[in-house]
């Protein structure tokens, strides 16, 4: 297995692990903001993380018995 493959797998694993905890992909969000809402400020990962952490437990909490 060559290096780009390993990197892709690593990125996939990190993305899955974060999403399991309710944290969406930061890069995707930043890209979305730049494309569709260039006027809005781009939050740092720290700000993004804090906002999402609180948002996760507002709805049904996204978990089962």
């Amino acid at each position: 297995m060559n290096l780009p493959d390993l990197q892709a797998i690593r990125k996939w694993a990190v993305q899955t692990a974060r999403l399991c905890c309710g944290i969406p992909d930061y890069d995707v969000y930043v890209q979305h903001l730049r494309t569709h809402h260039p006027e809005r400020p781009v939050p740092s990962y720290k700000e993004f993380f804090r906002e999402r952490q609180v948002a996760r437990y507002k709805g049904t909490g996204g978990r089962c018995c």
Binding site: T16, L19, C20, C21, F49, G61, C65
Partner: protein
């Protein structure tokens, strides 16, 4: 996995025929071989074959014909992409997310309790229940939600069955949640009663989580994986040091509690944890429990494959006649109530209409995530069943029978259980307790401890070593307690929001989730509701699980029936009447099971009413029945049983009301000759600009 209809190649046909033959052979061995114990691998192989065939054929049938999922159609993730909640995401990432959200303690507890009837009834219900009911529910609700902007179950019920049906269902969800929280908290109480080692390690999770919270907030913000690894190391250290605590004459009594005190501690904990900021306690523990859960499931799978244990429990025990000590009631309907998660779980319909539908990039991926995700959960349930059935049946019954039936000493328990036909010596019970580092294993119902002993034995078989059994046992207890406590904490918050929403109808300011008055009041009500049932379970004559688990099962299957009714209504509304039986049959089956079980819990020998009358009669005669030690306690048991009976009645009424709404909607839609479902209009995937 192609979603385009391709004619199967000859090689493909041969492959599927081979899988079918191997699966049928394994299933035949599991079902028909009597008298000699079989190896768990037969059961696991049969399960894999059934799941693969179910996914390939029935899942695809639902995908192509019933839901008519269309890969060219834009999904909510594409249409409403906001980079946060609605994001088109890689299907494997969504699968991981969805599985982590649906897999909880449920599939590990139900099958363990159901093992009292032998491994066969539970296995068959899990295998065929999941293919024809559970996975159908998850997949169809996911499919419906994807076609409706990712709307929630409650919203979809409101749209398709009418506003009143939506409110009735949401009320049902709130009550179900209180029962779920109570019964799960009771599992923890049962596991930790007079277990200083277990209580110490679980208590350690609180400072560990606080430390992780602070670390994530200020030291290394957002580094979830890093902090989880630190947390895991600290957890393992707490298990390791727990042995010393349990052995110490000064420290052990500090962590030695009876069931009542543990119930109060959990109630107090639930209140505090759910009013603290999420980043401090809830979120970090959530991360830890999510990773630990996935890791432990993988570990369990590895252990079963490597250890390949022999199933010591008979295929079918005499307790299918309803006289079992773990839960009362006949195979029908109580097996189908006891194993909820793993075969079919109503709670999943909330997840399948929650975050998951907002992440799916293409409708062609919904089958893998919805149907496939549920098959994975059923596999977890099968593994839990294997772990329980590979225990010595005598040990299994000693752990899961209430002390009212087997007494409180190893001597009494061994005598009672041997009389049931599962010969066991007091020595065997004592040795098991000693091996796992506990004083006693008697009457620890609730699944977690049984699974822990099963897992400990499997893992010990692979990695032997002095004292390792005790380590693995407390690891398994900790892992279950950790995610149950997270559920209790998160669930209390959700319950609080629901209560605040209802209270807001009466007095508007109470609705503000930022307000401390409304917040504390709603939290107190929420904790009070589940706390009542938890405490009731802790003082219950039959040990609590025996009483509360059927109530939980009825409620969970009730919600599943409601979700499947919604799927049935929509199928008719889309004018696909010829497929109405796909969601219709499991819906009817669950209605029959819940109503029958409800009725038997309402009147008859195993009912709550009968138990209440028995205690009321004894109290009137001036007698005291165990475990009550005073007239007041006798009275409390009477009241508790009447409350449970009333709740059962409410559940039955609720399901009949929903059935009425569903039938009404079906009849109306059947008469109209054009589709009337509230689907969002078709938008071609190609016409949406990519981000």
């Amino acid at each position: 996995m192609s979603t385009v209809a391709v004619k199967p190649s000859p090689a493909g046909k041969i492959l599927w025929a081979a899988i079918a033959i191997v699966g049928a052979w394994c299933l035949g061995v599991v079902a028909l071989r009597r008298g000699e114990p079989i190896n768990a691998i037969w059961l696991v192989a049969a399960a894999i074959a059934v799941f693969v065939i179910g996914y390939r054929f029935y899942g695809k049938f639902i995908n192509d014909r019933v839901l008519q999922m269309d890969p060219t159609r834009a999904t909510p993730a594409v249409l409403r992409n906001d980079g946060l909640d609605y994001v088109p995401t890689d299907k494997w990432v969504v699968f991981g997310h969805h599985f982590a959200a649906i897999a909880g303690a449920g599939p590990l507890v139900g099958p363990v309790l159901a093992a009292q009837m032998g491994y066969l009834p539970g296995t068959l219900w899990i295998l065929f229940g999941v293919v024809f009911a559970g996975a159908v529910q998850d997949f169809m609700i996911l499919g419906l939600s994807v076609r409706r902007d990712g709307r929630s179950l409650g919203n979809m019920l409101r749209d398709e069955l009418g506003p009143v049906a939506g409110i009735v269902a949401m009320f049902g969800v709130l009550v179900l949640m209180m029962i779920v929280l109570a019964v799960l908290a009771l599992v923890v109480v049962k596991a930790l009663t007079h277990s200083p080692w277990g209580t110490y390690t679980v208590a350690c999770t609180i400072p560990i989580a606080l430390l992780m919270g602070v670390y994530l907030r200020w030291i290394r913000p957002g580094k979830i994986l890093e902090v989880s690894i630190i947390g895991l190391i600290l957890l393992l250290l707490s298990i390791w040091s727990g042995a010393a605590v349990a052995a110490s004459p000064t420290l052990a009594p500090i962590f030695d509690f009876d069931a009542k005190s543990l119930a109060w501690l959990l109630i107090a904990y639930g209140f505090c944890a759910s009013v603290l900021p999420v980043w401090l306690l809830l979120a970090p523990r959530d991360y830890l429990s999510t990773f630990l859960k996935i890791g432990t499931i993988l570990l369990l799978a590895l252990a079963i494959f490597l250890a390949a244990p022999t199933l010591q429990m008979p295929a079918v025990t005499k307790f299918i006649d309803g006289t079992g000590p773990v839960f009362q009631g006949n195979l029908f309907p109580f097996l189908f109530i006891t194993i909820a998660c793993g075969a079919v779980s109503g709670w999943h319909s909330i997840i399948a209409s929650g975050t998951t539908p907002k992440l799916i990039a293409s409708e062609g991926e919904a089958r893998m995530i919805g149907y496939g995700g549920m098959l994975m959960e059923a596999f977890v349930a099968i593994m839990a069943l294997v772990a329980a059935a590979s225990l010595h049946p005598g040990v299994y019954f000693a752990m899961n029978s209430p002390s009212a039936l087997i007494g409180t000493t190893a001597q009494d328990a061994a005598t009672a259980i041997s009389q049931w036909g599962f010969v066991v010596t007091p020595d065997e019970l004592l040795t098991t307790a000693q091996n796992i580092g506990e004083k006693t294993i008697l009457s620890r119902a609730g699944g977690a401890p049984t699974l822990a002993v099963g897992m400990a034995q499997l893992l010990h078989g692979i990695i032997p070593g002095e004292g390792m059994m005790a380590f693995w046992y407390h690891y398994a207890i900790l892992f279950e307690a950790l995610f149950i406590l997270t559920t209790v904490d998160a669930g209390t918050r959700v319950g609080r929001f629901m209560i605040q929403e209802i209270a807001g109808l009466v007095h508007k300011p109470l609705q503000h989730t930022e307000s401390w008055t409304g917040n504390l009041l709603a939290t107190a009500i929420c904790v009070g509701l589940w706390g009542y049932f938890l405490y009731q379970g802790a003082v219950d004559p039959l040990g609590g699980i025996n009483t509360l688990w059927p109530l939980f099962g009825i409620a969970n299957q009730m919600l599943a029936a409601v979700a499947l009714m919604l799927a049935t209504v929509v199928t008719v509304k889309l004018k696909r009447e010829r497929y109405v039986l796909v969601p219709g049959i499991p819906a009817i089956w669950l209605v029959i099971c819940t109503l029958t079980a409800g009725w038997q819990k309402l009147s008859g020998p195993i009912s709550f009413t009968a138990a209440a009358q028995k205690y009321a009669q004894a109290a009137a005669d001036g007698k005291l029945l165990a475990p009550a030690k005073s007239v007041e306690e006798m009275q409390r048991i009477v009241t508790n049983n009447y409350v449970d009976a009333a709740l059962t009645g409410i559940f039955m009424l609720l399901i009949l009301t929903m059935l009425g709404f569903a039938l009404n909607a079906i009849l109306k839609a059947w008469r109209i000759n054009h589709p009337t479902a509230h689907e969002e209009p078709y938008v071609a995937l190609g016409s949406v600009p990519t981000r």
